[in-house]
Symmetry: C2
Subunit: 202 residues, 2 copies
Amino acid sequence: MTEPQPKGSPTVGRRERKKARTRAAIQHEALRLFGEKGYDRTTMEEIAEAADVSASTLFRHFSSKEALVLTDEYDPLIIGACRSQPAELGAVEAIRRGILGVFEHMSEEALADIRVRAELAVSVPSLRAAMLDQLAQAIRDVTTIVAERAGRTSDDFAVATLAGAIMGVMLAAELYWVEHPESELFALVDDALAHLERGLTL
Amino acid sequence: MTEPQPKGSPTVGRRERKKARTRAAIQHEALRLFGEKGYDRTTMEEIAEAADVSASTLFRHFSSKEALVLTDEYDPLIIGACRSQPAELGAVEAIRRGILGVFEHMSEEALADIRVRAELAVSVPSLRAAMLDQLAQAIRDVTTIVAERAGRTSDDFAVATLAGAIMGVMLAAELYWVEHPESELFALVDDALAHLERGLTL
DNA sequence: CTCCTGTTTGGGAGTAACTGTCATTAGTGT
DNA sequence: ACACTAATGACAGTTACTCCCAAACAGGAG
């Protein structure tokens, strides 16, 4: 066990850096091509070509074409942010603040990226479909958070129901956002969760 | 314009009946094979073989492998049932009664079918994914119903939020049901919507 | 520097879900 | 019986994805 990172590099050696760069390059080229030519009209081979890697390598980094669009690193951040909210807050409020906290610290670039992905994810059937896997994972995560704050187990049906409602209103916000381009995602998510906390009265 | 249906046949002629029978046979064999061999280990050709049709015909009836599991005829029934609830009921209550009304009139066989599908839809990634398309459509349908009852437009964000919450709690009920086989789907859906109407208090 | 080890990559063969086309068959209205 | 349309079948082609094996390469030990 000699020191793993001798100098400035905070995480790892050249190997992993190269890997990360390759991965980023692939995703970058993929999103570019999807934007230029359309998702369906872009083949995995073209993406591999553009990123100057073999098709094998592409599939090792991204297990599916959908993953090229849907993969991001925000979910763990949001979960952490929700968890670290003051304990006296209710679950919905904690999640609301957690989400908005993460959004606030994002660059304009990253936000634009999210919008592109969301538009793709809504307009391309196979992507729209693949999103549910993310949604299901999100429901599980939310269930855990809700259970923690309520002092109940994740098996509690009331907890599951609330988690479902939370993800439901957030999904509705996202869909509304894509259909109304002039709106702002944060504001909608904020509104939706606030509306939920007030009991969804019309 | 001579009379389309001369005798007792309420809808159509032999051609469409045959078509419907072929379609039903395909789906039946598909679900059987999926149950026996597993979804991934069953090919479209095997299904075509088992239903005694060509692969072409299979794809004409079901545009994708997922559609074989996810296609059903209940959504329009449920929508109709919700619409025909007394006008004085709130949206959530109308939907609750509409859904339970349809479920009540279903045979044990049909219910078992639904269970098999739900289990497949949860356990098989590509199906889990494809469900979101159904979910999105359901959210749109629910949005319409909610808007009607609230005397608002479908563009109203509060309406969209409520619709999202309704589908969210129903999805949560379905997921809970699959994870807790001893529970009853109706009861869970009923509970979930009732919980929602009471404001999702823990 | 040199060898050794484990990881990343590339290449190629193979599978299976689709797609499109065209000829054939089978119901339907006249 | 005859024409018309809808359903089917057969076939070739595309593409996402998997498996496998060999080459290149980074990192540590002698």
